[in-house]
Homo-oligomer: 182 residues x 2
């Protein structure tokens, strides 16, 4: 079985609703989505300091799935070794939250499938799905950029915009692998 | 710079004094070291259940260095990208302890250099130093087995018995790399 490193934040876990709520609570207005193309919400006017909250215990504990992630993950794990690889080490207080989130929301995840790191250049899986180009730049396997407003201007990597599209991509990969064997 | 994945438990962190104390407190006798060759202390008569303690918060927080580890690490980091790679994921309550231990005992460690995982087969560094053969078996770089009583019967990997010897090994590697360049 080939292996896939799957990022957590903004790939399987949706951080945006919580950030948008915080932005609205502070500024009294909705985020202009056009301004988020190529930017992070905390780099916008009014968003300064919003990133500090993610250093707090509990912040990562109650976030929703990105649409369709759970269904495609349930399919993927039948065909690939999947690893959840999060650059969590910048956030000491997120470690237990992320661990507990994975075990609660995806009860089939074994601890062997979890990786918390800082620099993803040491990850040696066959595929990597990530929303940050800097994680894919140093990757030696096949990279997939998971679409997010902040990475819209990135053109160097194959982009996947939904978890349905991720499933289609890997269905095609499996067909290729099987035709090589046959 | 080439990269090295360095295990924590029984490679840079000495677990044995704490285990021996617990064994003596329970049985009233010292561990027969001859019985530890090829075995873990919790597989000995009288040691049953000693492993359970390592699931408790705080257990990993106050452990000493393996002799000479800190001095050699300070030298290694000048010549290699070093990563601390611990199979910590079996022990949810160890995550913060291990993180805090690294930052306290090796204040120069950046969060980018820390990796907590389950299965080390996804680690793609150039070298790996580990006391467990099962971590080295699937490694694609150069493996070094760090000597421990429990692995004394293992013969498949280059064995290093002290951190002085680790330094000698990498001094020789650096000379080889430089002669290739020259």
């Amino acid at each position: 079985m080939k292996s896939i490193a799957i990022d957590m934040d903004e790939v399987i876990v949706d951080l945006m609703p919580k950030f948008h709520q915080a932005f609205e609570a502070r500024t009294g207005r909705k985020v202009d989505l056009a301004l988020l193309e190529g930017n992070k919400i905390y780099s916008l006017e009014g968003g300064e300091g919003l990133r500090e909250a993610i250093y707090e215990r509990g912040w990562f504990r109650d976030l929703p799935f990105i649409d369709g992630a759970d269904a495609t993950l349930a399919w993927l794990r039948e065909h690939y070794e999947i690893y959840f690889v999060s650059a969590a080490m910048e956030f000491r207080n997120s470690l237990e939250d992320k661990y507990d989130w994975l075990h609660e929301r995806l009860p089939w995840v074994h601890w062997r499938q979890i990786v918390f790191c800082g620099d993803k250049s040491i990850i040696g899986t066959d595929y990597m799905i990530d929303d940050h180009a800097h994680n894919l730049e140093t990757f030696r396997g096949t990279p997939l950029l998971f679409d997010a407003l902040h990475n819209r201007r990135e053109t160097r990597f194959r982009r996947v915009t939904t978890w349905g599209e991720v499933r289609e991509f890997f269905e095609a990969e499996l067909s290729k692998d099987q035709s090589h064997v046959a």
